[in-house]
């Protein structure tokens, strides 16, 4: 379980330079410590917008796999990473990427219409999460046991929108025993979306249905052993359960897109190693 002592004043806009903030013009004396010896011009900066409280993706202590991949990419660009922290909620892209506060967001569905996206760098799936000691492994939405169990599922508070598994349960009329865990959660707690995995571990629900990266990472950090299994089918009708994830950039920045894609290609094995380290379930094909 996690320490809930750390309070975030966040959901916020706070810019924290990781290496240092490099202002391009003026303020020479103030920047003295920021410019590396022997460089006539300041180093490049990769400006990243990120959630300060959302492991396994990112946090302000730079412990997420997206933080790690951002560092890896920046190194390849000979750049420093500079973060703008903003809770990844409705309006995130508008308030960060689109308002020009940063150049990239490290994760977006590849077919997202909100921004330009690179070629995908991983593909994951929604998964069933159960306690190993209870032997409840389930792999299909059509498993009749889902009608009897307490089922936890991630939900969104947007009108007519929801996570694909929440829609899949409704489509089957599995409603009465379903407990919703909001993606928003309580932001004063660490990593608010993770409560659904806590609930599986604690036995509050028999099975949780969660997005793979969250489930894969937190399943390793619970005091009891958890099992995860990709949901099946992989999609039904217009409802996908498997998503390609890309880096998001502003529309019209084709040169940056190309540069990022070539780095993602070149550093594929390093990225795979980071994803493995965080227990991110991936889907092939």
């Amino acid at each position: 379980m996690y320490s809930h002592s750390l309070k975030f004043s966040a959901l916020q806009s706070r810019r924290v330079p990781v290496a240092c903030i490099l202002l391009l013009f003026g303020f020479g004396p103030l920047l003295a410590g920021c410019i590396r010896q022997g460089h006539a011009s300041p180093r490049r900066v990769l400006r990243v917008c990120s959630d300060p409280n959302n492991l396994p993706f990112s946090n302000s202590r730079l412990e997420g796999f997206e933080n790690r991949i951002a560092e890896l990419i920046a190194r390849e660009m000979n750049a420093d990473v500079e973060y703008t922290w903003w809770a990844q909620r409705r309006g995130f892209i508008r308030n960060t990427l689109k308002s020009g506060d940063c150049d990239v967001v490290m994760g977006l569905p590849s077919d997202s219409e909100m921004a330009l996206t690179t070629a995908p760098y991983y593909r994951s799936t929604y998964v069933f999460v159960t306690r190993k000691d209870r032997g409840l492994l389930v792999t299909s939405f059509d498993d009749p046991r889902l009608r009897k169990w307490r089922v936890g599922v991630q939900i969104v508070g947007d009108d007519l929108a929801n996570t694909p598994p929440a829609h899949a349960l409704t489509n089957r009329g599995i409603v009465g025993s379903v407990i919703g865990y909001t993606l928003y959660g309580d932001y004063s707690k660490e990593n608010p979306p993770a409560r659904i995995i806590d609930a599986v571990a604690a036995g509050d629900v028999d099975v949780g249905i969660a997005w793979g990266p969250l489930a894969g990472y937190f399943a390793r950090h619970e005091p009891v052993q958890l099992e995860i299994a990709p949901v099946s089918p992989r999609s039904e009708g217009s409802l996908p359960f498997v998503f390609d994830i890309s880096i998001g950039i502003r529309r019209g920045e084709g040169a940056l897109k190309q540069e990022l894609e070539s780095i993602l290609e070149r550093k594929r094995s390093d990225i795979e190693a980071i994803l493995d380290e965080y227990g991110i379930p991936r889907v092939k094909g």
Partner: protein
């Protein structure tokens, strides 16, 4: 000019009408076949703490919430001479929905986030600033506001100004000095709660409620002691009866609202804990019955299929005793809401002759498109009549009180549904109407919007992909997106209406001299004849208008009219939030209907005050 019906679609027509007004023809007596009827204001409803009608102590003017002023210097004959007396910039660029207050020759303005309170000295030329109070709300609160970072105003009571901050504090500020008297945190932005509504102060209790149905909050109304800021009671909109302050005195009129713990049993297990039902709209008070009335917002965050049941007590209206909060009755406008029809609009308390009897009623122009007339002693629906184009329902069954949904218009994932009318902002959103006891008419600023639920689109929150329907709003029949109309609540029919290009997202004001005021989202502030609906005057403000007009008597004895300009809100998010006009799905689909707004107005908060020369 048509005496009874005035359909003005384009500004050019208004300009022509004004040009006509320059001639002598405008000073002729107004002809009207609208029935003019004196309606008695029930005793006490004008606000017992308001000896001088020249002031404006709460956004809705008085406890009956009629936004009616007895000031009579500005008339249908001289309104065309109105001129700007002075202005004041708020320095804030988001949507300005608040009503100014005027107390003891001081004007008070509360801004959108960061919720600055300004006091302006009306006794001096140009109304210089006396002081400003800055509560410095957490910037994180901006991340939980669903629909721009608006604030709908403050309330004056017992020497103090009370209002809410976006980050869930209710504050009391000394009206003389600008010093904070108390500051009570009543909600938590980390749970998705924010506050945008204007308090109502009743019998030493400051009544406030939360916003945030889109974030999985549980709605509530709470009462704070006006002198200490201590919480006296809190009534939730979902959950067990004990949490909802429902006890033995609860006597709802209809069977569907009778029974134990309906706030739990009309939901899937535990869903009520994050069930919505925020209280972000208007509260009225009847001192004689000692009852407050307020509406509850939409259920959430589940989609309709995922929350079978009536989802009590969302999308309805409570009558409560302000002393202890206990519920006396409840009525549900939209049981098991399908369309995001929050039930939080204003309720105007009047006594009306209905079927030969004088009835104590409340009139509610509701988001689902009906003007409801309820017996405010019992919650019985006396009439429910469409005031807009409706496809989502087929009427209200007066036997059961139940809205009759049209199943063909209920949207769910993967099902393309066209012409859902009214669209999610409703036939009328929060923008409050006015009622004139002089004409017996309700003055209704409202929308004419429909929406299509089109294709499935992927989105992403907190590192997690999800899917929803791509919703697009557009103008309803006629092609105009807004309407300002006069409605007869006894005959249950429209008397006249003015078509407006944009949704009329401002409040309304009406005076005893039969002048009604409202503003448009492209910045025109307008005066119209309250009897006949003909335009009398208009002025182009710097930014679109979504505020609430007021009128007051200045220290010089003259009548003034004031309005905040400053576009934004849900409807104006495309300008205030710099949204991409090409993204029709932005602002939950509202963008599609408003893509031309950035061409016609820009953001910027400014107060305008008008007077006769």
């Amino acid at each position: 000019m048509q005496p009874s019906k005035s359909h003005i679609a384009k500004n050019i027509a208004v300009v022509l009408a004004l040009f006509a007004c320059a001639s002598a023809s405008c000073s002729r007596p107004i002809q009207s076949n609208a029935e003019v009827r004196e309606v008695r204001l029930p005793s006490g409803l004008s606000g017992s703490n308001e000896p001088d009608d020249g002031q404006w102590l709460m956004p809705a003017k008085n406890y009956s919430s009629n936004r009616f002023s007895s000031l009579d210097q500005i008339t249908v004959d001289n309104a065309r001479d109105l001129k700007v007396a002075w202005t004041f910039s708020t320095g804030i660029n988001r949507g300005h929905e608040a009503a100014p207050l005027v107390v003891n020759n001081t004007m008070y303005i509360v801004t959108p986030y960061p919720n600055i309170l300004y006091a302006l000295d009306l006794t001096k030329p140009g109304a210089p600033m006396k002081w400003k109070y800055e509560p410095k709300p957490s910037s994180a609160a901006q991340g939980v506001a669903c629909c721009d970072v608006v604030n709908r105003g403050a309330a004056f009571y017992d020497g103090k100004i009370f209002y809410n901050t976006l980050d869930d504090h209710t504050v009391a500020v000394d009206a003389q000095s600008g010093k904070e008297v108390w500051n009570t945190q009543v909600g938590d932005i980390n749970q998705g709660e924010s506050m945008t509504m204007a308090p109502l102060v009743v019998k030493d209790k400051v009544l406030v409620g939360n916003s945030g149905g889109e974030f999985g909050v549980r709605g509530w109304l709470t009462a704070l002691d006006a002198s200490s800021g201590k919480i006296a009671w809190k009534a939730y909109s979902t959950g067990p009866d004990v949490d909802c302050l429902i006890g033995s005195n609860f006597k709802p009129f209809y069977e569907a609202d009778q029974g134990k713990d309906l706030g739990v049993t009309t939901w899937p297990p535990d869903a009520w804990k994050i069930g919505g039902g925020g209280v972000w709209g208007w509260i009225s008070y009847d001192p004689e019955l000692n009852l407050i009335y307020y509406g509850t917002a939409n259920p959430g965050p589940w989609n309709p299929d995922q929350r079978p049941g009536d989802n009590k007590w969302t999308c309805g209206i409570f009558a409560r005793n302000p002393d202890n909060g206990e519920a006396l009755w409840f009525y549900q406008w939209s049981p098991h809401d399908l369309h995001d029809y929050d039930g939080v609009n204003e309720q105007i308390l009047i006594d009306l002759p209905i079927a030969g009897h004088t009835r104590k009623v409340l009139v509610r122009p509701e988001r689902n498109g009906y003007v409801y007339v309820l017996d405010r002693t019992s919650g019985e629906v006396l009439s429910a009549t469409p005031f807009a184009y409706i496809t989502t329902s087929k009427g209200v069954d007066l036997k059961t009180g139940r809205l009759i949904y049209n199943p063909e218009k209920s949207a769910s994932l993967g099902k393309v549904v066209r012409e859902i009318c009214p669209a999610s902002p409703g036939a009328k959103d929060w923008q409050p109407s006015a009622f004139s006891p002089k004409t017996g008419l309700l003055y209704l600023p409202h929308n004419n919007l429909c929406q299509d639920a089109e294709s499935v689109e992927a989105n992403y929150i907190a590192g997690t992909p999800y899917v929803g329907m791509n919703v697009k709003m557009y103008a309803g029949p006629g092609g105009n997106r807004g309407v300002f109309s006069a409605w007869d609540p006894v005959a249950a029919k429209e008397v006249w209406s003015i078509k407006e290009d944009y949704p009329v997202w401002s409040g309304a004001l009406v005076t005893t001299a039969n002048v009604a005021f409202y503003g448009t989202m492209d910045g025109w502030f307008k005066a119209v004849n309250a009897v006949a609906g003909e335009p009398l005057w208009q002025f182009k403000c710097g930014s679109g208008i979504i505020g609430q007009p007021i009128t007051y008597r200045g220290p010089d004895g003259k009548q003034y009219v004031a309005i905040l300009s400053g576009v934004g809100g849900w409807s104006g998010a495309i300008v205030a939030g710099n949204l991409d006009p090409r993204d029709g799905g932005g602002a939950l689909g509202f963008n599609n209907a408003m893509s031309d707004l950035p061409k016609n107005t820009v953001k910027g908060g400014m107060l305008y005050v008008f007077a006769l020369p």
